[in-house]
């Protein structure tokens, strides 16, 4: 979205279909933050040392802060009584639209860092571009998130270098994580019908335009980290359409436990 900001026609959201598309687009963005924030939350207190433990908790907090703003916006668009919590905790597996990358488990610190780095590079480019959105709220959210996103990218990138160019063991472990998670990177650039409609309307950046830059950046850092760049014939996708891995059900079982066990309670 290189063109200057064009304000959204105020009548745009009067169309039910446009609104529906916008909500679905936003869920696609926000669910990424939710699921990554949840995964990072699992690690709190179990880090390899206090400093990275604190830093990963910080990132988790940033993710959750970001997702709340997006869900609150969705709730406002829906105009019903739904809240950020209903949207986060009361949907079913197929209704979540996060990419598969972010639901991958915390296999070890290497996987945590690689998953984070693959997402952070994308997220920073995304929030940068989203600052040109025709939607005022999204511009503000992007502006708010960009500083954090830059910090996250630096954190995960620095750790990737340490692990890649550290010891033989760390290199082999983090290489394995890179190889395993690489197949999930392409999905970041997949679009859904809702995404396409929002790109068309100037609300969403067309991330396919950033695909090459993304891989350049990622490969550059992998090279600095003395890691091999995987070559794969096939990528995995599906999360954005609600087709998740087997991990998803367990993430939700844990995350939704209280809301399901005590429906309609206030906390």
């Amino acid at each position: 979205m290189k063109q200057p900001i064009k304000e959204l026609n105020p009548k745009f959201l009067e169309s039910t279909q446009n609104k529906e598309h916008l909500i679905n687009y936003l869920l696609g963005v926000a669910d990424n933050y939710l699921i990554l924030g949840q995964r990072l939350g699992e690690l709190c207190g179990h880090g390899p040392n206090l400093e990275p433990d604190i830093a990963l908790t910080n990132i988790s907090l940033d993710m959750l802060g970001q997702v709340r703003s997006f869900y609150q916006y969705i709730a406002q668009l829906r105009g019903d009584k739904s809240t950020e919590d209903d949207i986060a905790f009361l949907r079913k597996e197929r209704e979540y639209k996060n990419v598969l990358l972010l639901e991958q488990p915390n296999t070890d610190f290497g996987y945590v860092i690689v998953r984070q780095f693959f997402f952070d590079v994308y997220n920073k480019m995304f929030l940068n571009a989203l600052q040109q959105s025709a939607d005022e709220t999204l511009r503000a959210l992007a502006f708010k998130g960009i500083k954090e996103a830059s910090y996250h990218e630096r954190f995960s990138g620095d750790w990737l270098k340490r692990l890649g160019d550290g010891t033989e063991e760390s290199r082999s472990r983090v290489q394995e994580a890179v190889n395993d998670l690489w197949i999930y990177t392409d999905e970041l650039f997949q679009t859904t019908t809702a995404d396409d409609a929002m790109i068309e309307a100037g609300v969403a950046p067309d991330m396919s335009a950033f695909r090459d830059t993304y891989y350049e950046k990622v490969k550059e850092l992998l090279t600095i980290a003395t890691l091999d760049i995987p070559e794969v014939a096939y990528f995995q996708k599906g999360g954005k359409e609600g087709l998740h891995s087997e991990h998803m059900g367990f993430i939700l079982t844990e995350m939704q436990y209280m809301q399901r066990a005590y429906p309609d309670s206030k906390w």
Binding site: G45, P48, P52, L163, T167, S170
Partner: protein, 320 residues
Amino acid sequence: MSEAEIKSLEAQFDAKIARDEKIEPKDWMPEKYRKTHIRQISQHAHSEIVGMLPEGNWITRAPSFRRKVALLAKVQDEAGHGLYLYSACETLGITREQMYEDLHSGKAKYSSIFNYPTMTWADMGAIGWLVDGAAIINQVPLCSTSFGPYARAMVRVCKEESFHQRQGYEIMLSLCNGTEEQKEMAQDALNRWWWPSLMMLGPTDAASTHTEQSMKWKLKRKTNDELRQQFIDQTVPQAELLGLTIPDADLKWNDGKGSYDFGEINWDEFWQVVKGHGPMNKKRLDDRRNAWENGAWVREAASAYAAKQKDRKKEIAKAV
């Protein structure tokens, strides 16, 4: 150094503490002072770090965004407390690695309260309200303790702890204003956490070995029994406000002494847990050991990388 010289140094040292001046890491100090402070500060740091586990247990299941974010931030604060307490302790000439080793081998202790399980969400409220409440009573006097780095760390810790306590009480309040099931959950948590919280203030004065020396060094200002009484007197009205019942049939206001009388504490249980046989002792230590052992390759990578970077910088400097 001759015995007379040591005596004179000791006298100066004692006088300094009596004047309420701080002892700093580079100052001369009696070996016993150093050892006692290493023991207490590291134990305190370990309590923060082990204390992350029972609450961390509920981060992924917190019932709302607001609660999830607050809980994450709280557990993160505890990590921060651990960090500056370890740093304060390092100034006494012990490394963080050595302290971890002592924790993992069972040589160093941590607060026994964390050896109880967090079964329900209400435990997040009860821990904040009671456990942090008791911790504050223990810790406020430490803000003016004699060892400078410890006193300064405690000023910050106490500020955050009192925020945590209000947060915990607020969780209880929401539960008590909620459904019948939520109220039951709150009462159940109070029933389980009340007695262990009283035990947190330490053995009775008669059974406490460290009190006299600790008083002199301002590691303690009041005895365990005085602190316990203070905790009970402050907490009972808070429970009443919540509409919850303290699980002690002997608890009753004593007009004569202007405080509450309370029932017998089960000291057998206290010693059982202190000696390592509480419901969660093994799990807590296993979790800490696993985190440390599984993180070894990460820490090694970080030092190897830092060393390589240093060498590279040297090479570049040489070339220039």
